[in-house]
């Protein structure tokens, strides 16, 4: 009876793996739970980020201001301290947007470059060796 139950469970796991594989997830049935967990976490994170970042007028509204405005500057103002204009004020028109994009692009490039140096290059050399 016990053997039959175990066999039945194994078949069910294999069947679940088949269904998941049909959806495009290629993995061995043994790693099923790990893969589901990994992809589940990734999907949850992505959903959270995309929904919070891009749903409705999220960043366009004042409601979504930073805690520097809603907490730091607000409390400081109550106690008689106000934020001063930055020494180099880039918050003019689309200039700040441009600088953020530039900073993101350069930061992303540097990240990718060093990632390649640290991860990909040693693996390539190892593979050739």
């Amino acid at each position: 009876m016990k053997t039959k139950d175990t066999k039945c469970k194994t078949v069910k796991v294999h069947l679940t793996a088949e269904i998941a594989e049909y959806a495009g997830f290629k993995f061995k049935s043994k790693l099923l739970l790990h893969k589901i967990r990994d992809y589940g976490v990734a999907i949850l994170l992505i959903s959270f980020l995309l929904i919070t970042c891009h749903s409705s007028p999220v960043t366009a509204s004042d409601k979504w201001g930073g805690v520097d405005e809603s907490v730091v500057e607000k409390v400081a103002k109550e106690y008689g301290r106000e934020a001063r204009e930055p020494f180099i004020n880039t918050d003019r028109g689309d200039l700040l947007l441009f600088l953020f994009l530039l900073a993101g692009a350069i930061g992303g490039f540097v990240c990718g470059y060093y990632w390649r140096v640290i991860i990909s290059e040693p693996q390539r050399v190892k593979g050739e060796g």
Binding site: E18, A42, L45, C53, A83, L96, L99, V110, I118
Partner: protein
């Protein structure tokens, strides 16, 4: 319904749909790559700088000078330590470069928090604290904060010292300390990294609250003000700390998978922990 019935139905469904369209999930991207891609995309839509850094001119000059004086020895020691370690280990500089770029991006990435209706950002100092050590992580934070203050209207030059202390010094040491403590009691690497990220983030905001309250209070009592600021930060930073925990755990786990030798060399794990 038997197992055989289910299997038959699946095969029939596969036959029916395979001719209509390909599976929408045929791109087998690793989950971490997808997450990083989503994080990168989310940085492309800033409206303004949404920072937790203390803005320009908020702190009185004496307090700004005090925090600057507190921060500078750590930064100087970080420079010395970077020079010393880089001389003996050539693979250290690329890791520092990677961490510097990561901390810079993470610490100016605005993330709206629906539960609070505000936006803020993680710090990234837990990852750098764990991987390159807290003193070099402080140096990395100082550079990131300086660039942000100069060009991105994010933080300020007069409040640079205070922001280095909260994000760099406290964030890095909290992340490193929590990680080492949890590893010391034999806790799992990923779980330790998660809590390091979580507590480093919360410690940073706690310090920001103390810095702000001490600077602006005047004759008002300190404790009620600092409590008020901490409570105001909680709705935003509670979920963001959890996100920072996931980012830290993901990064450490990924490096364990790809380059465990690096983690061993920099003392993050012991050689015996690497699975051959």
């Amino acid at each position: 319904m038997t197992i055989q019935d289910l299997r038959f139905k699946l095969q029939r469904f596969r036959l029916l749909t395979s001719t209509l369209h390909p599976s929408p999930f045929t791109l087998h991207l690793p989950p971490f790559t997808l997450t990083l891609a989503a994080l990168a995309i989310s940085t492309l839509f800033p409206e303004k700088s949404y920072a937790m850094h203390i803005s320009e001119g908020i702190l009185p000059l004496n307090w700004a000078a005090l925090w600057f004086a507190v921060a500078m020895p750590f930064v100087a020691y970080g420079i010395w330590r970077l020079k010393t370690v880089s001389k003996t280990d050539l693979s250290f500089k690329p890791l520092v470069g990677l961490m510097a770029a990561a901390v810079f991006i993470i610490s100016c990435m605005p993330i709206p928090v629906p539960t609070a209706g505000t936006s803020s950002h993680p710090c990234g100092t837990a990852i750098s604290g764990i991987l390159v050590g807290p003193t070099i992580s402080i140096l990395i934070s100082a550079v990131a904060l300086l660039i942000q203050a100069l060009f991105l209207a994010h933080g300020g030059l007069s409040t640079w010292g205070a922001n280095i202390v909260s994000m760099g010094v406290i964030g890095s040491f909290a992340g490193y300390g929590v990680f080492k403590l949890m590893r010391g009691v034999k806790l799992n690497l990923t779980i330790s990294a998660f809590f390091a990220g979580l507590l480093a983030d919360w410690a940073t905001y706690l310090t920001t609250s103390v810095e702000l309250a001490s600077g602006i209070r005047g004759d008002a009592p300190f404790m009620p003000l600092v409590t008020k600021i901490i409570i105001a930060f909680i709705p935003t930073q509670l979920p963001l700390g959890i996100l920072e925990g996931f980012i830290t755990a993901g990064m450490v786990s990924l490096l364990l998978k790809k380059r465990p030798d690096l983690l061993v060399r920099f003392g993050v794990i012991k050689a015996g922990e690497v699975k051959v």
